[in-house]
């Protein structure tokens, strides 16, 4: 379970103090699929950094599986990111000149885990790319690269998969594929938090949280995912 309690974050930008997030309260239950939306400058990226333990809040508490990560050191945060969070980025961020399998293995290397090869292979199977294990990133399509990135996020069995604009660099078909994959993962019991500005992608989520000026302005639950899927596919066909 993920819980933000009165979380705020302010930066110093030259003379001015920027309050990127203020007084955010958010609880995400295990197995939920939450989309976080908002225009640019709404605090989405800051939210992503804090949820992903890449940054610590300046006010409030962030509880991840009941552990308060607010005051942790760099190395402690690294260990939390490694074990409890699976990050997926807009630009995939796969290591170049490194096979898909080795890329997926990387978090296990940093976590000093055993049976790395077989676990990485299983994660690749989960995203349907077992047959591409020995391919290099530049031999894969954008959608496939993002699936490798998702496998890399899955491989440590994290508490939460945190995807930051995962479809930002993809065409509509590949975007739907990725969104569908995230939905399936959540249906299989994984917690997924998706940050996006695309309504079509957010529509795959069960719950949509909207941010504006660093505050949560709405928090709604959608109906059945199947209806949504049809709606999106229609929208895709129109476009």
């Amino acid at each position: 379970m993920i819980k933000l309690e009165g979380v705020g974050k302010s930066y110093r930008a030259g003379e001015a103090e920027v309050r990127a997030l203020r007084d955010v309260e958010l609880t995400v239950d295990d197995g939920d699929f939450v989309a976080i939306m908002g225009p640019s400058g709404s605090g989405k990226s800051t939210m992503m950094n804090i949820l992903g333990c890449l940054d610590v809040p300046s006010e409030g508490r962030y509880l991840l599986d009941g552990i308060d990560v607010s005051g942790m050191s760099d190395d402690e945060l690294a260990a939390i990111r490694n074990g409890k969070i699976g990050l997926v980025f807009q630009s995939y961020n796969l290591l170049p000149r490194t096979t898909a399998l080795a890329n997926v293995e990387l978090p296990l290397v940093y976590g000093n885990q055993r049976a790395r090869r077989s676990r990485a292979m299983r994660a690749l199977e989960e995203v349907g790319l077992a047959d591409r294990a020995s391919h290099l990133p530049n031999q894969l399509s954008g959608g496939q690269q993002q699936r490798v990135a998702i496998a890399r996020a899955l491989v440590t069995r994290p508490t939460m998969i945190l995807a930051d604009e995962p479809t930002g660099n993809l065409d509509t078909e590949a975007s739907c594929e990725i969104a569908e994959m995230l939905r399936r993962l959540s249906a299989a019991g994984r917690t997924v938090v998706l940050i996006t500005h695309e309504e079509e992608i957010a529509a795959y989520a069960r719950r949509v949280v909207r941010l504006r000026d660093g505050r949560i302005v709405s928090d709604t639950r959608r109906g059945l995912p199947d209806d949504v899927t049809q709606e999106i596919q229609r929208a895709g066909a129109d476009a």
């Binding site: 890449l54 690294a78 260990a79 990050l87 000149r97």
Partner: protein, 407 residues
């Protein structure tokens, strides 16, 4: 993270920029090869000097009359045949192999094809052994020839060249006029590069027939041959005791003679060549240092270039230490490979120099020293660690959010 994986990552990183890695290695390579080669050249030169000095005989002790007046007035007594006898007759340990008197003069030789002024040495039958000389043709004079003041002479290669056309065999048995007397050439010395312009005759003959000879029993120099290099200090002490006794001197500061060994000279040369070798090695060390700066430069570029990658690794859970290790391993592999190739290059050049150096004339062949090879290689590894430390630290300190955003 295991070290094996760190090596795999380092290798991948270096291969990604082959030319750049190669050029950086080249700096270390040249430094290491230079250290090995220059130290070997220094050692070679010093070894050759030593062997030349050893050819003069490291077991030899020279005795000379002290120059000038002795302290507290008094005339210094010359060395005489009595001193030679005293040294020969002493039963004290250690034993002397030979005690050889040397009397020096200068005279004009007149032979078949010309005349030539050369230095004359009057000595005993032990002269070749005492001065490490070998006979090219003929033979040296004998003890009985010394006793009978025989008019025989053994020539050095230079007078043979000047008055017998350079053919030693042609000089054998020929007559040579020295002063007002005729001498028979009984042998020719092999050259030793030190004293080749010389004519050696029995000391008795020199005294009898040469201008400054006569009834005088003086000797210019004594050469005492100890049983070996190790026996030299004890032998020198004995020479001093015996001669002080013979000259009736009680106080060592009143000594009117000097005792010197080739070993002293060897030590002095050793000091000079050691300084020379250190000097060469420091020049090479500067080359190695410059190579190290090259490593640091390239590692800084690498860290900047791979900022995003570092950010990603940290986002996936790499700790500071892990990132630090990765870049340290990379810089050490870089300098280690450079060092290994440098060792091969340096050793190769030394071996080439040993084989073909002679073709370049008077050239002391380089002499490889294992410690210098090991040291140069170890230093190259340490350079990787030392000059890689700052870039690696910079990489380890990068904040993942900023690093991921870096373009």
């Amino acid at each position: 993270m295991t070290l094996r994986l760190a090596f795999v990552m380092a290798w991948r990183g270096l291969r990604a920029n082959r030319l750049r890695s190669l050029l950086t290695m080249l700096g270390i390579m040249i430094g290491v090869a230079a250290v090995i080669l220059l130290v070997a050249l220094g050692n070679g030169t010093s070894a050759r000097l030593n062997s030349q000095l050893e050819a003069l005989g490291t077991n030899l002790i020279g005795v000379f009359q002290a120059r000038g007046s002795v302290s507290e007035g008094g005339q210094s007594q010359p060395l005489t045949d009595r001193d030679v006898e005293a040294l020969r007759d002493s039963n004290e340990a250690p034993r002397f192999v030979t005690v050889t008197p040397v009397k020096q003069a200068s005279a004009v030789l007149k032979g078949q094809y010309g005349t030539w002024r050369t230095s004359i040495v009057g000595s005993s039958q032990d002269y070749p052994a005492a001065l490490n000389r070998t006979i090219d043709v003929g033979k040296f004079f004998s003890e009985s020839q010394v006793k009978t003041r025989a008019r025989v002479v053994v020539l050095g290669p230079q007078p043979v060249r000047e008055i017998f056309g350079g053919i030693p065999a042609a000089a054998l048995g020929q007559q040579v006029r020295i002063g007002s007397q005729t001498f028979e050439v009984t042998g020719v010395l092999e050259p030793n590069g030190q004293q080749d312009d010389v004519a050696v005759m029995p000391i008795t003959a020199a005294r009898t027939y040469l201008v400054d000879g006569g009834a005088d029993d003086r000797v210019d120099q004594l050469v005492v041959q100890a049983t070996g290099q190790d026996a030299v200090p004890a032998a020198m002490a004995k020479v001093e005791r015996v001669l002080m006794d013979s000259h009736r001197i009680d106080d060592p500061t009143q000594k009117d003679f000097e005792v010197r060994s080739n070993l002293d000279l060897l030590e002095q040369y050793g000091e000079v060549t050691a300084v020379f070798t250190v000097f060469l090695a420091s020049i090479a060390a500067i080359a190695l240092l410059v190579g190290g700066i090259g490593v640091m430069n390239i590692m800084l570029v690498t860290v900047t270039e791979r900022t995003r990658e570092i950010g990603l690794r940290k986002a996936l859970g790499a700790r500071r230490r892990t990132v630090l290790e990765q870049f340290l391993v990379e810089s050490t592999v870089l300098s280690g490979i450079g060092g290994s190739v440098g060792v091969v290059l340096g050793v190769g050049l030394c071996l080439l120099g040993e084989r073909f150096g002679a073709a370049f004339g008077d050239f002391a062949p380089p002499q490889l020293s294992l410690p210098s090879v090991l040291l140069a290689f170890t230093v190259s590894l340490c350079i990787g660690l030392f000059f890689g430390a700052y870039p690696a630290k910079r990489a380890a300190r990068l904040r993942p959010i900023e690093a991921l955003r870096y373009e």
